[in-house]
Symmetry: C2
Subunit: 351 residues, 2 copies
Amino acid sequence: MIEQGSEKTGTKQLTPISELGEFGLIKHLTKYANHQNSSTVKGIGDDAAIIKNGDHYTVVSTDMLVEGIHFDLMYTPLKHLGYKSIVVNLSDIYAMNAEPEQVTVSIAISSKFTVEALEELYDGILTACKNHEVDLVGGDTSSSRLGMVISVTAIGKVKEKAITYRNTAQVGDYICVSGDLGAAYLGLQLLEREKRIFMENPQIQPQLTGNDYIIQKQLRPEARKDILEILNSYKIQPTAMIDISDGLSSDLLHICHDSNVGCRVMEENVPIHQASYQMAMEFNLNPISCALSGGEDYELLFTVAPDDIKPLEDLHGIAIIGRITELEKGYLLVGKTGREDTLTAQGWKHI
Amino acid sequence: MIEQGSEKTGTKQLTPISELGEFGLIKHLTKYANHQNSSTVKGIGDDAAIIKNGDHYTVVSTDMLVEGIHFDLMYTPLKHLGYKSIVVNLSDIYAMNAEPEQVTVSIAISSKFTVEALEELYDGILTACKNHEVDLVGGDTSSSRLGMVISVTAIGKVKEKAITYRNTAQVGDYICVSGDLGAAYLGLQLLEREKRIFMENPQIQPQLTGNDYIIQKQLRPEARKDILEILNSYKIQPTAMIDISDGLSSDLLHICHDSNVGCRVMEENVPIHQASYQMAMEFNLNPISCALSGGEDYELLFTVAPDDIKPLEDLHGIAIIGRITELEKGYLLVGKTGREDTLTAQGWKHI
């Protein structure tokens, strides 16, 4: 009846989505999304949208997790999945230096799921809400013919002055990152390997013991509210901030492109957990590549003015990995030998 | 590896979701969703959540549309689908007597979609945003292995006093409904019939001419902002309000149950469009059943205090269909002959 996307085009060549990539696609599709309300302070293009509401500003972020794309129910406990679906959104709110207060959760499920299965999912959802002091205020439950989809919207609050965008990094700022990187990616590699072995021979039980750290980073990541509390205790407001969902390279380049600056990252300062390092070796992967491009770390990446950096210099859990430079200097990764490479972002992994 | 939902239950019988139904399921899953923030005025259980923000209150609603469940791309133009995905959410905001100002849109798509197809979808999304003066402020684009999913969250604003909940109908109030009912359901029946004929013989082109009204009500419904403007012009604030997404019976029973009241609906006053009436006849369906249970009308159903009803009595486009009664009187539908039946809600259509 209708051939979607071909109606108006006649013999014109159609464009596959892969040609634009995720960010290009969003940019392309929303280029006519002009704002009509004065309350809209910031729309598309940061971790979250900003809406003016008197003294306070409301911060809104939304994310969708799709079975078979973002998670595999063969090795993902539903409780962890529920927890993760909330914290990946809260992470975006924290990345604006804001405090999340409410979430809505929409799920689509096939009839194969039982009430007990959904109880586990909601157990995780509500545990995340409790840990982060946010309220589940709404949602939609729907069926799907195939697979599960979870869509979460988080809403937070922030004072105008405290809002931390990603386009405000300044030349000379220090580049900082919380926690360590690459673990979630390596956890995923391990889970996928054990799944393959299990598929070939269901008698063999997965060997996951001793790898709790990287598996937890993949299946049940945490949003770094504690980092905001630390920065706050030192009265440090980052000059720019983003959460690392796509990988350090990709997300740092977001800050650089949007702030019109360059960067210089010291490879030896990029934090990698011992467990990640070992697993990278086991997979014959370069640990630094995993840390730069792995994604799903949900750590905070932020820039700090030189005057503010002192208290962070010896702080456990926050690594200073480089400096913001003039745009002309480019986006550089400096190896242990002093060799300079250009940082490059990954494409859209999922299509 | 993991058998979801069976881990903790041992030999205990698992519960199919169909046993609880949609509303029972949501209630069951969210019974421990206690609120921790004083800004959360209203959570789950109305058309939208309410968040206190100084003088104004923020209203949040979210909905998910799933291919094969909520729409069929064989006969749904993507532009209409985009339009509908926005207005079904705005309808929830209007049903709180609030003004929508922002939306976020998350989509999951398979690689079969081209950029041009998504342009059509966003054309519809942005047209709806323009018509309703709302801003598209965020979203997420993801892939799906099979089928398209669209998840929209709408955010609005309302003064505390103007908020219209669904649990505040009073005995003696008049029950009013905007527009007419059943058309969207009959439009769907027609589209499904023509699809079946087309599937059997692709040479036969669908016969849709002359049925524009019911098809438009199904494919490109409108959210009734204009009704709020009319009520406002008469300084009428409904005592309770809901939008009709599940069907008049089901949604009126929401108001009754939540307000702890009964109702008495006069069948002859339920508004049915001539085109709906004719199509019901063609399908051998009872027009009043289509109006009561069809769903997807996105009309507003509201109750008005007796002192306020006068200006609405002869107003075109708003029908007074009955009265709110004491709970003990039950939920009654009074036929043209005076015969009384009990109104009953439909179950969860989609599972």
